[in-house]
């Protein structure tokens, strides 16, 4: 074999360093195409040859999309550009969503030797994150931590809400951040000129561009600062306020950080019913707290889950929530309806026989519920979707009336059922707490499984019951608490409880 002289090893063409490679990962519909056009525009207008490509296809709907731009100073001949980003060979990576930044890192497009990573920190949740009955949201913190390692420089802020606040879309704020990063050799004015040349929605885009530029060069303002100055959150007649203060005083005696949780819990149950109900809550809570012979975890978890259990979701609570102070204003702000507009609000309600009967006096309700014929009749009379216009008086009055039935609530079948549930559940806690503190804490936490309305609620209760069955199986073992935690987590993974059944099967295999 001969080595031809012309083929002796050489160093790479130094001009290759002049090629700037920029990739954009976005979610379909975020305006990645516009951003790409601007970037090409600013490059071409400033003595650069530029080439852009994209992968649209069906991904333009809601999937992940990729745009890619290469540019180099204009010379006599056109440079040969690549049509796709290569792992380890990207200078600027822009991601229009936090998980897309994660994806860019996974694909090797972000490397410490060269890549400036500009990412929006906001989340557009994937379907898989939303459908989990528990909390399935992926960790942005993990992605940020990886980005700090992987990127040469990492610029990250919520460019989405920044854009919305400025009446524009994320492409404009990201373009601003790109300008501020200094990763492209063009002036701020050159960037702005590219937006003007685009010709569409110029003013809003320029405003958002400026905001993006600002945030990227100076860092994000702290959004928590506003919330600190919230107004007093409890109001009412003096005599009620005095009683309220007394209850709050009582929570101070609780161990560890249970007091703060108890205050939140008290608010919830008093708002649900009244001060007397709040006192009942405290009594129950104090009963459990008295058995807390450790750091107060038991008391804190009891404060949390007991409040949730006692403030169950019945018709009265829902009706009250929809006819309370501040709701109309809250909706108007969210919908951006001002003085000049009129707002109509339609509620989507669908009571079934179960909900109607649960409002009857406990004994009578139980009798009715046990009679399928009667239930069918009630269903026939009541079970249908109701669209209620709560900006109209008639519908509002109906819900207002229902929301005011708190005096009636304690007599209802629903209340009796819920209290029986609470007693059985706390009884279980009391039963195990002396022998196994951790197990008692886990049993308390299982209340998390009971949520939703109608069928969803029934499924939640069934999951709760199955986990309680599990408590019976594992109680007495050293790892009992651990198993109950696992069962609960499994129950939150899917709707039907398949994962839970699997986990229970495992438990049964060794007890």
């Amino acid at each position: 074999m001969t080595v031809h002289e012309s083929l002796a090893p050489r160093e790479a063409d130094p001009r290759l360093g002049g090629i700037i490679k920029l990739a954009i990962l976005a979610v379909g519909g975020q305006g990645g195409g516009v951003l790409t056009n601007w970037i090409e525009g600013v490059a071409r207008a400033n003595g650069y040859a530029a080439q852009a490509t994209s992968v649209a296809g069906v991904a333009q709907r809601t999937g992940a999309t990729v745009y890619y731009v290469e540019m180099a100073p204009l010379g006599e001949h056109t440079p040969i550009f690549s049509l796709m980003p290569a792992a380890g060979d990207v200078d600027i990576m822009m991601t229009a969503e936090m998980m897309e930044a994660g994806r860019a890192i996974m694909r090797g497009f972000v490397t410490p030797d060269r890549t400036v990573l500009i990412s929006s920190s906001h989340r557009a949740l994937a379907v898989s994150e939303k459908t989990v009955p528990g909390d399935g949201i992926a960790s942005s913190e993990e992605v940020k931590a990886a980005a700090e390692v992987a990127a040469r420089r990492f610029i990250c802020a919520d460019f989405d809400s920044l854009a919305v606040r400025n009446g524009s879309v994320i492409s404009a704020t990201l373009f601003g951040a790109l300008a501020a990063s200094g990763a492209l050799p063009f002036s701020r004015e050159a960037f702005e000129e590219a937006i003007r040349a685009g010709g569409k929605g110029v003013e809003a885009s320029l405003r958002a561009f400026a905001a993006g530029f600002e945030v990227a060069s100076q860092g994000e303002e702290n959004p928590l600062a506003e919330e600190a100055a919230a107004p007093a959150d409890v109001t009412g007649p003096d005599h009620l306020m005095r009683d309220w203060q007394a209850l709050i005083e009582r929570t101070r005696a609780l161990p560890g950080d249970a007091a703060d949780m108890a205050e939140a819990g008290l608010k919830k149950v008093v708002s649900f019913q009244d001060l007397a109900y709040g006192r009942e809550y405290l009594e129950r809570l104090e009963g459990i707290a008295a058995k807390d012979h450790r750091d107060g975890t038991l008391a804190r978890e009891a404060a949390k889950y007991l409040a949730n259990a006692m403030a169950y979701d019945d018709i009265i609570r829902v009706a009250d929530a929809k006819t309370r102070t501040g709701r109309r204003e809250r909706i108007a702000t969210e919908m951006r309806a001002g003085e000049a507009q009129v707002m109509q609000v339609t509620e989507f309600l669908h009571p079934r026989a179960e909900e109607i009967v649960s409002m009857l006096p406990a004994k009578m309700g139980a009798r009715w519920a046990a009679n399928p014929k009667r239930m069918a009749l009630v269903d026939k009379l009541f079970n249908r979707g109701r669209r209620m216009r709560t900006d109209r008086l008639s519908s509002f009055m109906a819900l207002y009336f229902l929301g005011g039935l708190k005096g009636w609530r304690r007599r209802t079948l629903r209340h009796a059922d819920e209290m029986a549930h609470v007693d059985a559940w706390l009884g279980r806690v009391t039963e195990v707490v002396d022998r196994d503190y951790d197990l008692a804490v886990e049993v308390l936490r299982c209340q998390r499984l009971v949520k939703g309305y109608s069928d969803t609620h029934a499924r939640g209760q069934s999951k709760f019951a199955r986990v309680m069955e599990g408590v019976g199986l594992v109680a007495g073992r050293d790892d009992a608490a651990d198993w109950i935690r696992r069962l609960r987590e499994a129950a939150l993974l899917d709707e039907g409880g398949k994962a839970l059944d699997g986990a229970l099967k495992t438990v049964r295999s060794f007890v």
Binding site: R61, V127, I331, A340, H350
Partner: protein, 715 residues
């Protein structure tokens, strides 16, 4: 009306000699067709060439001025068949569709066309939907060129090369009496760049003129004994003519030094990727000046033995860069070498992966591997002995969720599948076949409806085996695009003729939506050059299907559910078809939003609906998510220590389609949803009356608030 308008860009198509065009690949292709004096154009939309069809549609006026006929063909087979005009008449024709699936559909016509041979240049522009961003099975169009013997062009992916290849391709087609196929990959369709224009040419003979002077010649008809003669003609005359033309015109290109011990043969479309890898290895400069000889196949079929063997002369190692599988080119080149008794070592799929896209990393690894084997001394020191430690980057594979495409915000198909989910909860799981189109996203979570797709318009046909019936009925889903593409004949006449007892749901969103919102036969829009507003139900009646239910507002989930249940349980025999119609929301918003904004600005009364969730009422069970998957219906974490799970939240991208409320009602989920209609520019009385009502309501609220403790609600 297509979702993207090219009206502004179409102006660039009028550029003349000496002017410079700057823009996207598909526009450049259109311009090149006009410069080549094309007489008729057509095709069927589909990524990545959907926009080419949109450009042609938007350029109809200009085309008419030049005497060029544009046909939006019913499907790819129709487009392929249209090239028949070039068999007898010296008229250049071009059609476009996606590969490989569009070519599958067109293959009957293309095989006949290739056998007959052409007089005028016939060009098929295929958007090869392969690799990242592809929406179809991963196959190659290449095989079709080989089996029917038409020539496959694969130009280097830059605008001047693509434009030149259109003109050369027509010449080649005419010189060899053979149709040619110009292949562009996903990224080349969207690549931007510039090229020097020429004047547009009117066709020498227009299709109108041809009608005045009809021609026929039975020797062109595919019937024995002429069909035998066609085969001989292909081998003895057309093929050699093509080889001669390709060599003489220099369609394949050579780069780099003449003398070397190694060389690379590359498909034209892969050229930039190879250069980038060589640049990274220090073996090519910024302008692509390479130290390794390259033989660039801008024509990948036929391969030219002499030209290839000349390239191999004096070399010890040759690498074939051929994306996809099977490796037709490498196999053919290997056989050329073997027949010539050559000792050259041929590399290709031994270094490249057999399957999958040739990404930057794949290309770099394979080229480095090739040079390491062939001439390791060429590699820069850093590559020969890499010693730089790479920092450990945390593994995110368990963190980052996948993001497959799904239904858009407000999509009218979502409530159809929510309704199917509800029926499934009542009647159990059913055998469900799907078709091609947006509705196929229902196969993914959260719906997971539909287990197979057999092709465009073939959904109900894919249930053929179950037509005999059983305890439960089979269900098929098909879109309106699929219905008119091929569904009416292949699926519905099949159902009707075989007395199927199955159910078919036609998802009618007024457009061929997945390909970009082109009009179809049943579109509701008035289209000056196309026949629209032909109801699907009428077509069904015409093929003898009588059980037809039309749901004209898919968002009515309860009605949708009841209709599906009826179809599955009715004692009536025979095919049962539900036509579920609501306009594609993407197109509707594009149409209505500007009008609405204008109306608001002009002071007219406008109601703008949007949905919301009372976070206090939402328990965070996410049951609604499992019947929706709407991008605007998301989650938010409350600042409330009592809550573990995030609650539902609807962001400002909501278009108020109504699905959330309907589903919450039909599935009896929860009372958390509300719809807020903001009335812009309300009338005087309306405003006064609303004010009065809200004052009374406020008074009632305050009355209760002052008598009890009020707590600020976490939101």
């Amino acid at each position: 009306m297509a979702e993207r308008s090219f009206k502004a860009e179409v102006e660039h198509l009028k550029l003349g000699e000496g002017e410079t065009f700057t823009g996207e690949g598909i526009l450049a292709l259109t311009k090149a067709l006009l410069e080549a004096g094309v007489g008729y154009v057509g095709g069927y939309q589909g990524a990545p060439i959907s926009h080419l069809m949109d450009v042609l549609a938007d350029a109809e006026e200009l085309l008419a001025e030049l005497g060029v006929r544009f046909e939006a063909n019913a499907n790819e087979a129709a487009a392929g068949a249209m090239l028949a005009a070039s068999v007898h008449y010296p008229i250049r024709g071009a059609v476009t569709f996606k590969g490989s699936v569009g070519v599958n559909v067109a293959s009957d016509a293309l095989a006949n066309l290739a056998s007959s041979g052409v007089t005028g240049g016939a060009m098929i522009i295929v958007g090869e939907d392969y690799g990242e961003g592809s929406s179809i099975m991963q196959e190659r169009t290449h095989a079709f060129a080989m089996k029917s013997q038409f020539w496959l062009l694969d130009p280097r992916p830059n605008l001047p090369s693509i434009v030149k290849m259109v003109s050369d391709g027509f010449d080649l087609s005419e010189a060899s009496n053979t149709p040619v196929m110009l292949m562009v990959r996903i990224r080349s369709c969207h690549v931007t760049g510039t090229f020097e224009c020429k004047d547009n040419q009117r066709p020498g003979l227009t299709v109108r003129d041809a009608l005045s002077n009809p021609r026929s010649d039975f020797s062109r008809v595919v019937l024995p004994p002429m069909s035998y003669a066609h085969e001989q003609d292909k081998i003895n005359n057309r093929w050699p003519a093509a080889e001669k033309f390709v060599r003489e015109r220099g369609l394949n290109e050579f780069f780099g030094p003449k003398q070397a011990s190694l060389g690379i043969v590359v498909q034209g479309g892969m050229y930039n990727g190879v250069i980038r890898a060589l640049q990274r290895l220090g073996l090519a400069d910024i302008h692509g000046e390479t130290q390794i000889p390259l033989y660039v196949l801008n024509v990948t079929y036929p391969l030219i033995s002499d030209e290839f063997l000349e390239f191999c002369a004096g070399k010890d190692h040759v690498l074939v860069v051929e994306e996809g599988q099977p490796e037709f080119i490498e196999t053919q080149l290997g056989s050329f070498l073997y027949r010539a008794g050559s000792q050259v070592a041929l590399h290709g799929k031994d270094l490249f992966p057999m399957a999958g896209e040739y990404t930057g990393a794949v290309m770099l690894d394979a080229l480095e591997g090739f040079i390491r084997q062939a001439e390791p001394g060429l590699l820069p020191a850093a590559v020969r002995a890499p010693n730089a430690e790479k920092p450990e980057i945390p593994d995110l594979s368990k963190t980052v969720p996948i993001r497959p495409p799904g239904f858009c915000t407000g999509c009218p198909e979502r409530p159809i599948f929510a309704a199917m989910k509800l029926v499934e909860a009542e009647l159990g799981k059913h055998q469900i076949a799907a078709d091609i189109g947006c509705h196929l996203f229902a196969a993914l979570p959260p719906f997971e409806i539909g287990g197979a797709t057999m092709g465009y318009g073939l959904g109900p046909a894919a249930n053929g085996a179950f037509d005999g019936g059983g305890e439960k009925r089979p269900v098929a889903i098909i879109g309106d695009g699929g219905f008119w593409h091929n569904g009416l004949s292949s699926s519905f006449t099949n159902m009707s003729f075989n007395k199927s007892d199955g159910v078919a749901i036609v998802v009618d969103n007024y457009y061929s939506a997945a390909t970009g919102g082109q009009d179809v036969m049943s579109s509701r829009a008035s289209n000056p050059t196309k026949s629209t507003k032909n109801p699907i139900s009428k077509a069904l009646k015409g093929v003898g299907i009588d059980w037809v239910r039309e749901v004209d507002r898919t968002y009515d989930v309860a009605r949708m559910r009841d209709t599906i249940r009826e179809a599955l349980t009715t004692p009536e025999k025979g095919p049962k078809v539900i036509v579920a119609s609501s306009e594609c929301m993407l197109n509707r918003q594009r149409r209505e939003k500007p009008l609405r904004n204008k109306a608001i600005k002009e002071g007219r009364r406008v109601e703008a609906p949007r949905f919301g969730v009372d976070s206090e009422v939402c328990t965070g069970d996410h049951a609604c998510m499992r019947l929706s998957g709407c991008p605007s219906l998301s989650l938010k974490k409350l600042d409330d220590p009592l809550r573990d799970d995030p609650v539902a939240h609807i962001d400002q991208s909501c278009v108020g389609c109504g699905n959330c409320g309907e589903v919450a009602d039909a599935a009896i989920l929860c009372p958390s949803f509300y719809r807020a209609d903001v009335v812009h520019n309300p009338g005087g009385f309306e405003k006064w009356w609303a004010g009065l009502r809200s004052r009374v309501i406020d008074w009632l609220i305050q009355r209760r608030a002052t008598r009890r403790l009020e707590f600020r609600v976490a939101s």
